[in-house]
Subunit: 333 residues, 2 copies
Amino acid sequence: MRVKNIVAAGLVAAGTVGAVGVAWAFDHLYSPIAPPKAIDLGKVELGKKLYFDPRLSKSGFISCNSCHNLSMGGTDNIKTSIGDKWQQGPINSPTVLNSSLNLAQFWDGRAADLKEQAGGPIANPGEMAFTHTLALGVLESIPAYVREFKLVFKKDKIDIDQVTEAIAEFEKTLVTPNSRFDQWLLGKKTALTQDELAGYKLFNESGCVACHNGPNLGGNSFQKMGIVEPYKGNEGVAGRAGVTGKDADRFSYKVPTLRNVELTYPYFHDGAANTLAEAVDVMGRLQLGKKFTADENGKIVAFLKTLTGDQPTFTLPILPPSADNTPRPTPFN
Amino acid sequence: MRVKNIVAAGLVAAGTVGAVGVAWAFDHLYSPIAPPKAIDLGKVELGKKLYFDPRLSKSGFISCNSCHNLSMGGTDNIKTSIGDKWQQGPINSPTVLNSSLNLAQFWDGRAADLKEQAGGPIANPGEMAFTHTLALGVLESIPAYVREFKLVFKKDKIDIDQVTEAIAEFEKTLVTPNSRFDQWLLGKKTALTQDELAGYKLFNESGCVACHNGPNLGGNSFQKMGIVEPYKGNEGVAGRAGVTGKDADRFSYKVPTLRNVELTYPYFHDGAANTLAEAVDVMGRLQLGKKFTADENGKIVAFLKTLTGDQPTFTLPILPPSADNTPRPTPFN
């Protein structure tokens, strides 16, 4: 089983390298968040505007930033999101922060990458409730957008590919380097307190690391929610099986990143856990068959809070105004 | 009558000063937008966070910036706003830009100043649908807010006065200097084109200036909507009479600022005019008894577009995370 193998590998490594004085044998299973490379700045600036532009929704009220709010850890901090006409979403909004590091997008991984993801909510009747055609009609009517798309993509006409590519390029910049954990990984051994280090040790040796590893401490595999004990919030959502059609993938979800987890409450695909303490407790029992003591739980939570990195900072974009012929939003019909 | 008096004064002045070579005799009725003075930066930074914080709403989804969006001219660009549970607001969201220059706040002037205004939407059941007590409970539970309020206000407890004062202080910074019209007023005589100057002349000599004067080109008086002809969008809203109780104030509203009017569509208290051309036409006929030709209308609109100033630019604020005991938003009940 994958969990046990990874933990065993860690323990073996601990035994091996312990001999040469390295205390933290699991470190190689993680890596610090790095600044993005090969970014196209023109696309980033255009994508930033689109990310904040509610005119990509039917109502003119909902933008990408509504549910993936960059003031709030790239989430909405609501159990499940609010869509067009205040519809209740079926699932918790995952954070956009560091999402470029995930193996796929959405909880069920139905989008291969950020570009594919970006088109989804615009046309989802329960979210932005627009269509790609209508969104393009809005953008094509706004002279400053037409010029900027032309400058960036060198094409005569705006298409949905350009829209999603620009948004995805902006999202690639939404990484959060320099967390205290990353400072620690990079050699600043005073970056973590004794309690946080104890939490890190527990996190590794209890098996959390089995799924929450890599640069994003997650986001790189699909796993069943409820391995040892069934999870009660699985009803009504197919999980990964909705994509693969395989019964074995029922109740499987993309493992969420733990980066900035202090900011991305509430937790799980259904947003059922309000606090980190609750999430750690449920994960321990359902995934690892382990009931953490209050002291252990507190130490793991302390470690998790060291994963908050520098939040992306940028100037709030100013959107180009609609023209007289721009189709107006229709929030109430 | 006030309109005629001001226009007459302008014409007299034109006759008088024309003799000494000053072509634009109405200039003294305007003044450029100036940077704010005596600003408390601690309050501004705190107020900026509060302005963007949807946790001041019941749903956790609506912030001041939702309807007074600083990416979009300080408005939502929707006919009437969307409130809690997607309720349709009764009136168009006025821009927050340069609102510190208005004689009072809201269309009916029911709040004396920005501080008094800021408390309104939080507790309005049709808008943010929260209560001041609940909002304070949320803020008091967030350690970083508690520290910042203490640093700024030197008091032991957060109260609603501090909240609204900080938001108002931030809003005082939301001025838009350096429009082309202001550059022109300040002596750059190439700042406006011939058509724009022709529009300015029409704006003055037709009487628009009677209500739209001062630094904000409006915002400094209440006037009846529909002086010469009745306005059809007056039903169902009391206007200024709702505040004064005087029948003479029925259908009176605070004259909206024309600053950044290119960005603040749709127009009027009911958002019924989608374009500037439409708004100028209606104003001419209903307020001045004048039907502008297409050419005149186009020139006035060209002038109005010179009123777009430098938009406030600042870094998107990062909000402090909720604590385990912070009351969670309740968008769906």
